[in-house]
């Protein structure tokens, strides 16, 4: 069966605030192979006008994954994670994340549709510090490959009626 259409609008909140640390930023920067010292050296970060090392622009994927993990294990959503590939991704930044930020993420399912034989699931994540400062918004569209046929077979009116 395809993605459960009743999950449109569903919200997932981070189980606990995410603490952005220097060590995790360095690990992430190493993993993407980016040696920019503003990610690892506090003196460089201070000289650039930041209070501490900042995180690479795609670092928020970590908090996004936490929300997605909740969706993946939710059996009622019927998301086959092995069939998921990333369709598109956007970030709107108010400022870069930096070490010391403690961030809460609220992720909402904003669209579920079908295109060709695939299903598309769009998740929008708002990331704010625990003090309430909006840091960034991330929008993530996932493609579930080959899932739409199964949704149609299941005979769900929502599944047949929607398209991208």
């Amino acid at each position: 069966m395809g993605i459960n259409r009743e999950y449109l609008g569903r919200e997932y909140r981070s189980p606990q605030p995410y603490e952005v640390t220097r060590g995790k930023i360095r690990e992430f920067a190493d993993a993407i192979g980016d040696p920019n010292p503003v990610y690892s050296d506090t003196a460089t970060a201070h000289a650039a006008g930041y209070g501490d090392v900042i995180a690479p622009p795609t670092f928020p994927v970590i908090m996004g994954m936490e929300a997605m993990s909740q969706a993946v294990v939710d059996p009622e959503l019927r998301l086959d994670f092995s069939r998921v590939v990333h369709g598109d991704q956007s970030f709107d930044y108010n400022r870069p994340l930096q070490a010391g930020d403690v961030v809460e993420t609220v992720t909402r399912i904003t669209k579920i549709s079908s295109l060709g034989g695939n299903e598309l699931l769009t998740l929008e994540s708002e990331m704010r510090t625990v003090e309430g400062e909006h840091v960034l918004t991330a929008v993530n569209m996932l493609v579930v490959r080959g899932a739409a046929d199964e949704a149609a077979e299941a005979g769900s009116a929502e599944g047949q009626g929607s398209s991208a």
Binding site: G33, P57, V85, H86, D88
Partner: protein, 142 residues
Amino acid sequence: MTATVRYDDVEVGAEIPEQVYRVRRIDLVRYAGASGDFNPIHWHERTAKAVGLPDVIAHGMFTMAQAGRLVTDWAGDPGALVEYKVRFSAPVVVPDDDKGAEITVSGVVKEKLDDNRVRIALTARSGGAKVLARSTAVVRLA
């Protein structure tokens, strides 16, 4: 915010020189650990092929990170990035050998906006395929 490129010095059509970034299986394993994305299609060939992919593919977000680096290295300050969006138009297929795959990224200034911001169009290719489409970054320059 201390971008080193000056807004007044940039013209529409200016090119950001092409860069080539390499990705091997070990990079995907490391990225899986750092990002928390353990989807087996990014490290397990049997699973990737079982769902119809040609082989293990790179995380889309890994490719997005490489293309973003082109912009942040050019601008001189990663914090100058205001907006960044990509469409993953084809997967980066990463073979099980020592060479892995190459991701070739280039950019061009498409538009000058207010508040010292410019919009950059990004292109990324791997294995002869366009792996990013309709991808843009908005950066605030000095």
